[in-house]
């Protein structure tokens, strides 16, 4: 019986071990400024490692990047990161990295479609690192999308106009629905909803093209000191079901805010 217990314990340990290792390096919260960037834009990446057990409280921290390539003069070795890769401390467990992708990696914009990196201690032995982090890089040419804003970079102190072009939608509901209005929700940097969702009137600009506009601090009650991280716009309307009857339909889009000055 005792032998059976030992076998069970061993099995449980074997099953749990990979989960334990995984959980010790996961949980990084990554913020990009601006929230969307091209290979030629300066970008600031902030990584909060408060919830990464293997890195919380450790300092200084370093970037280890390999995609689209190794930056000159390299990352250093795993147990001794290059000092050039040291991150800037923004606050407790918050570390930033500011760079322009083309200059940092010495690559052309066409070669940079994604950035892959992790954050580690100078000596990364013992898994003192985050999981791999991958960020998309926007193309240099304009790519029309079903949802867009004007201006492209928005903040909580700016006038914001948003647009829906159903001809560019990639799902049937958005393509076929007849929008009658939209609701907007704001979320703080920490992910908490700020104030209740608000209704916004849509203007039909042409076949399948709708717009709405708002000024965040007028439409919402944003408490002092709260930074808005993103908005969620839900277009609401009707769509025909299989029997030709009108039924409610929704199409939602999320869009990041940036801390404009």
């Amino acid at each position: 019986m005792s032998r059976m217990k030992n076998v069970l314990s061993l099995l449980m340990l074997l099953v749990a071990a990979p989960c334990y290792v995984f959980s010790q390096t996961s949980g990084a919260i990554v913020t990009r400024i601006p929230s969307s960037f091209t290979a030629e834009d300066q970008v600031k990446i902030i990584v909060d490692v408060s919830n990464v057990p293997n890195l919380a409280g450790k300092e200084p921290l370093y970037i280890w990047t390999w995609n689209p390539g190794d930056p000159a003069p390299g990352n250093g070795s795993w147990d001794n990161s290059n000092e050039g890769r040291k991150m800037v401390k923004e606050g407790p467990n918050k570390w930033s990295w500011t760079f322009t992708p083309t200059q940092y990696y010495g690559k052309t914009p066409a070669e940079i479609t994604q950035i892959s990196f992790l954050v580690k201690a100078k000596n990364g032995n013992g898994d003192l690192k985050t999981d791999d982090i991958h960020l998309p890089v926007a193309p240099l040419v304009y790519v029309p999308t079903a949802f867009r804003t004007f201006p492209k970079v928005v903040g909580q102190g700016e006038a914001i106009t948003f647009f829906l072009d159903q001809s560019l939608a990639t799902d049937i509901t958005t393509q076929r629905m007849n929008p009658t209005g939209a609701t907007i929700s704001l979320f703080s940097d920490a992910g908490a909803q700020v104030d209740a969702a608000k209704n916004v009137t849509l203007t039909n600009l042409g076949p399948g093209v709708y717009s709405g506009a708002f000024f965040p601090s007028k439409l919402f009650n944003i408490p002092a000191g709260v930074t808005i991280g993103k908005m969620r716009v839900v277009f609401k309307g009707k769509i025909k079901d299989a029997n030709g009857n009108d039924v409610d339909a929704e199409s939602a889009f999320e869009y990041g805010f940036d801390p404009l000055k």
């Binding site: 601006p34 970008v43 240099l140 004007f150 492209k152 102190g157 006038a159 000024f215 940036d258």
Partner: protein
């Protein structure tokens, strides 16, 4: 004899006309004073706002500008700049029920050059809004253009062009 008389009469008339001429007093040159603090002081009412996407302009993307006068209800906005002896003193912004695009509603204001204003700073308790003055020629017709730049990581991404009239 008749011909001589006519000639004499013509000469006499011409002489009389010449003698009647007298020089007018030439007024002193008065330089145009627009662009100084006094020319921008007063109460200005908003007329229009243009929002420019500077990032789109740099990348030559479509959708570079948008008229947001109605969204901001800018016709309700009044900006009062008070000056004393050619020096800026206080300001007030009356947004009415319009969105508070200027964030500040009262305080003091400063300029970079009191004779030829380039930038205006609206200040309240350590918070400053910097505005750039547009063309001086607009001031002569009681109009004013103020521009506000919004930056991200030190790079201008949005520019507002506020038009006012007095």
């Amino acid at each position: 004899m008749t011909q001589i008389r006519s000639t004499l009469l013509t000469i006499l008339a011409a002489s009389a006309m010449l003698l009647s001429c007298k020089p007018e007093s030439v007024k002193d040159y008065e330089p145009v004073t627009t662009g100084g603090v006094e020319s921008i002081a007063g109460t200005w009412t908003g007329t229009s706002v243009l929002q420019r996407d500077r990032d789109a302009e740099r990348k030559n993307f479509p959708y570079k500008t948008q008229d947001i006068t109605n969204l901001l209800e800018f016709n309700k906005v009044k900006l009062t700049l008070v000056a004393n002896g050619g020096q800026p003193t206080t300001f007030t912004v009356d947004h009415g029920t319009a969105p508070q695009i200027f964030r500040l509603t009262s305080g003091t204001w400063k300029v970079d050059n009191t004779e030829k204003v380039g930038t205006i700073s609206l200040i309240n308790a350590g918070d400053t809004i910097k505005l750039t003055l547009g063309s001086y020629s607009l001031l002569a017709s009681n109009k004013m253009l103020l521009k506000q730049s919004k930056t991200l990581l030190g790079v201008e991404v949005i520019n507002y062009e506020f038009n006012f009239s007095k």
